[in-house]
């Protein structure tokens, strides 16, 4: 693809994500692929979630980690390209930052180029474990007046 979009958003329809202890865990719900990123990647993710402005993200990361902005922007763009290719982020119109915006992370370790860890085998691995039945699988269709 020729031009990476200037603003993006996380693909809220198909993605569940959480940042724990500065690391990001992302699940692509449609097929159960699990992704993870360390603290720099997680910072990028939270900025994309907040405002999605690719250039502003690069500047903010450079400031947080005190690294030359050109190098950071290259890294951010490379990561965004991967996230985009995996369908985890999508192009979006520019938007205002919701709430107070992302806060400078409390534990900022040394800078390292962010990497997206991909685990495509999770779906298969989990399929090896038979799914436990859920009560929702046993929905009772009845017309008695007992509460359910």
């Amino acid at each position: 693809m020729d031009q990476l979009p200037g603003t993006l958003d996380v693909n809220r329809d198909d993605v569940a994500a959480k940042i724990i202890d500065g690391e990001a865990i992302i699940i692509r719900l449609s097929d159960g692929t699990y992704y993870s990123m360390d603290h720099v990647g997680a910072s990028v993710w939270s900025l994309l979630e907040a405002h999605g402005d690719r250039a502003a993200t690069g500047r903010t990361i450079a400031a947080w980690y005190r690294v030359p902005p050109e190098r950071v922007q290259e890294d951010v763009d490379a990561l965004v390209r991967e996230l985009f290719a995996e369908g985890l982020v999508v192009a979006a119109p520019a938007r205002a930052v919701s709430g107070g915006g992302p806060v400078t992370p409390s534990h900022v370790g040394p800078y390292a180029s962010p990497r997206l860890n991909i685990h495509r085998d999770m779906g298969n691995l989990l399929a090896l474990d038979p799914p436990t039945p859920g009560i929702d699988d046993l929905l009772l269709k009845t017309d008695t007046d007992e509460p359910r």
Partner: protein
């Protein structure tokens, strides 16, 4: 065999056969009661406010099963429309249903709890079978029929929480959610102790009852949301299941623990209503959630965040109760932690601190 019943060994049956399965089991139960009237026992109970009639053919099986529910026994005139639980022991009655249990399978099938759970497409009939037993639940008629290979061949789970899987479905249908939690009660209300046994829950529950609180459960209890948004806890089983090292800490209880499961890994069971008949209750309003943490220098109470309480429930109940509770259950638990306060009880080495700490939490 009547027309419409498949030959032995055939396991996939069309959905119309589900009622035939239930009839076949009911017929086998009736035959067992008629052939062995002396081995039949009938007791009335109340489970979460609903009448239950437990009929068992087989002396040994009856003795062990009734003991697990003894605290919920009800005297007086039998109820008009109880939930029927009918059970027979094939080693005593000479029945042949269990060897054909595979033929009892319904359309939809899962592997769970070392056994096979099946259900009819409309969800009305659910069956569960494993090596030692097959059980069928008719949710519309509120009738459960079960047969066991042998009443002398009961595991710790069979003795301490009989029929928990099927009961969890029946309770769910009545708006009572099964939780992996302990529940003890003070006069100010009930204290829920989420987490499966081993987190200090069984120890805490047993310590509480020896120190004057009331007992409702150490492993599985029922949670019901009542009018007005308050929560009520229900006792399901009368038992506490302990590891031997834990039991050793309760000198006065040790001699009364029952150890006679056939399993290699059997654990001693304590029947609480037999030891503390005045301190066992069937239901209580929930006053607080108490999260347990072991291995501290001294026993200490601190407030817990709602997120911690919800996480404690989620980590155990939502993933280790079978069938897995659904979205509704998570919402109910979220409402529970909004409604009642949560505390950490950090357990130190002294058992005698537990009762007073729990009372202190209840009195806050």
């Amino acid at each position: 065999m009547s027309p419409g019943e498949p030959a032995a060994g055939v396991s996939v049956v069309p959905s119309a056969a589900a009622p035939a399965r239930a009839d076949a089991m009911r017929r086998a139960f009736r035959e067992a009661t008629q052939a062995h009237p002396g081995a039949l026992s009938v007791e009335e109970y109340v489970f979460a406010g609903r009448p239950v009639r437990l009929r068992i053919v087989g002396r040994r099986l009856a003795e062990r099963t009734h003991r697990a529910f003894a605290h919920l026994r009800r005297d007086g005139a039998p109820a008009a429309r109880p939930f029927y639980i009918d059970v027979w022991d094939e080693s005593e009655t000479g029945g042949q249903v269990l060897p054909q249990a595979a033929a009892m399978e319904l359309d939809r099938r899962w592997v769970a709890c070392d056994g096979t759970l099946t259900a009819s497409p409309d969800g009305r009939y659910v069956s569960f079978r494993y090596e030692e037993s097959v059980t069928l639940l008719d949710r519309q008629e509120q009738s459960m029929i079960s047969c066991r290979r042998s009443g002398s061949h009961l595991s710790t789970g069979d003795c301490s929480k009989p029929y928990v899987l099927m009961l969890s479905i029946w309770y769910h249908d009545r708006g009572v959610q099964l939780l992996h939690a302990g529940l003890v009660a003070h006069e100010r209300g009930g204290l829920l102790l989420p987490g499966a046994s081993g987190t200090g829950k069984s120890t805490a529950a047993l310590a509480a009852v020896t120190q004057g609180l009331d007992f409702l459960g150490d492993d599985f209890v029922g949670l019901e949301r009542v009018d007005g948004g308050a929560f009520r806890g229900h006792s399901i089983f009368n038992t506490v299941c302990l590891t031997r090292p834990t039991l050793a800490r309760f000198a006065e209880i040790r001699p009364h623990a029952v150890e006679d499961s056939f399993e290699v890994e059997d654990k001693p069971i304590v029947y609480v209503s037999e030891l503390y008949p005045a301190r066992i209750r069937d239901t209580v309003p929930i006053r607080a959630v108490v999260l347990l943490s072991k291995g501290h220098a001294r026993t200490e109470i601190t407030p817990a965040r709602r997120a911690d309480a919800l996480r404690a429930f989620a980590a155990s109940t939502l993933h280790t109760v079978v069938p897995r509770p659904g979205r509704e259950a998570l919402d109910r638990l979220a409402a529970l932690v909004e409604r009642v306060p949560a505390y950490w009880l950090r357990l130190g080495p002294r058992l005698e601190d537990i009762g007073p700490s729990l009372s202190a939490i209840a009195s806050t």
